[in-house]
């Protein structure tokens, strides 16, 4: 199989590059279905890797890369399972999504996230699995989870700490503020900032450059320089599950889901 057309994402292997496009309206919120389709993708990624040198993740929606977890679905879980059972369900879900993120993170391919617009929460965490982030001028990055009484749960904190250090994590996490591509490049998060609408083109050009290199060497270089922060990833799941069963989280999610505020996305 060299291509897949799903309801939330599609991918295709062409000329040695796998392009995975997110396309779930309105803003690629990561739902159970997204996770199932990501699991299907990582299940075949190992085989595809023999024919590819690069993987590009992007969004085909104009509105942005990804707004993060599907908070409406999360709220439904709390309603459905109750506060006593939701932690168990959340743990199972997080272990599945961590498994996907870890495969992407450790793929022998050189991976590129081409982002634009909103790159928030779980969407930011997905981009952080990639070796390079190429952003257009309108991209914004944010961890808004504290606003809901939670921490990011898809591995974002350990990965950002691994890549950039603790101070950057504290700023983003504890203020909940978003910042733009220019700032993201200044702190080393983003490797290239390009004009509006040009991130995918720049990612393809970068992937083409990578085709010149010996794959075994490129994979060895990546394996040498990039390791999984496994202990912290496990600890993140524990903390998230401790927090999610609290009434404050239910209240925060309810407020978001029922909000008619003009600024629900502003931290």
């Amino acid at each position: 199989m060299k291509q897949f057309e799903g309801q939330t994402l599609s991918w295709e292997l062409k000329d040695g590059v796998i392009e995975l496009a997110l396309h779930r309206e309105p803003l690629n919120e990561i739902s159970s279905l997204t996770l199932e389709e990501l699991e299907k993708f990582v299940a075949v990624l190992g085989g595809l890797s023999h024919e590819a040198h690069a993987l590009i993740l992007y969004s085909s929606l104009k509105s942005g890369f990804c707004a993060g977890a599907d908070l409406r679905e999360l709220y439904q879980w709390i309603q459905e399972y109750g506060q006593s059972e939701v932690a168990k369900h959340a743990r199972e879900y997080l272990e599945r999504i961590h498994a996907v993120m870890n495969v992407l993170d450790m793929s022998p391919l050189t991976t590129i996230a081409a982002v634009h617009g909103v790159t928030f929460g779980g969407g930011f965490e997905l981009a952080l699995t990639c070796d390079l982030i190429i952003a257009d001028k309108m991209a914004r990055f944010c961890f808004p989870e504290l606003r809901l009484g939670l921490i990011p749960g898809y591995g974002g904190i350990p990965r950002l700490k691994r890549d950039l250090g603790n101070a950057v994590v504290r700023d983003l996490l504890l203020t909940g503020r978003s910042f733009n591509s220019t700032k993201a490049q200044q702190i080393g998060l983003v490797s290239q900032v390009v004009s509006e609408g040009e991130a995918l083109r720049a990612a393809r050009a970068t992937a083409m450059q990578m085709a010149k290199f010996d794959r075994t060497t490129a994979a060895a270089a990546k394996q040498f320089i990039k390791q999984l922060p496994l202990e912290e990833l496990k600890r993140e799941i524990d903390i998230f599950c401790d927090l999610i069963s609290r009434p404050a989280v239910q209240a925060g999610l309810k407020k978001f889901v029922e909000s008619t505020d003009a600024q629900p996305y502003l931290p």
């Binding site: 509105s63 909103v118 001028k137 309108m138 203020t175 503020r177 733009n180 600024q263 996305y265 502003l266």
Partner: protein, 80 residues
């Protein structure tokens, strides 16, 4: 350094162009959510446009409670 009035004028011009609203229909003390017909995601777009244009960093929590162009201009002016 730009004056407050020049900053305000540039914000109005930039917002009009980005959201395709006639410049002459935007007023300094007007609620920009209503005037531009924008939601929170589009507000983030506006924030990014303004940060790029003025080369400033404006934490979005500073926009809480800011609803008119003049107040927005004051927030930017304070960081120029």
């Amino acid at each position: 350094m730009e004056t407050a009035e020049k900053t305000l004028d540039e914000i109005l011009t930039l917002a009009a162009a980005h959201f395709k609203v006639p410049r002459e229909k935007l007023f300094p003390d007007e609620d920009f959510f209503k005037a531009l017909g924008i939601d929170s995601l589009q507000t983030l777009d506006l924030l990014t446009k303004l940060e790029n244009h003025f080369r400033v960093e404006l934490p979005d929590y500073e926009l809480q409670g800011v609803t008119d162009f003049r107040a927005l201009a004051a927030k930017i002016q304070a960081r120029l």
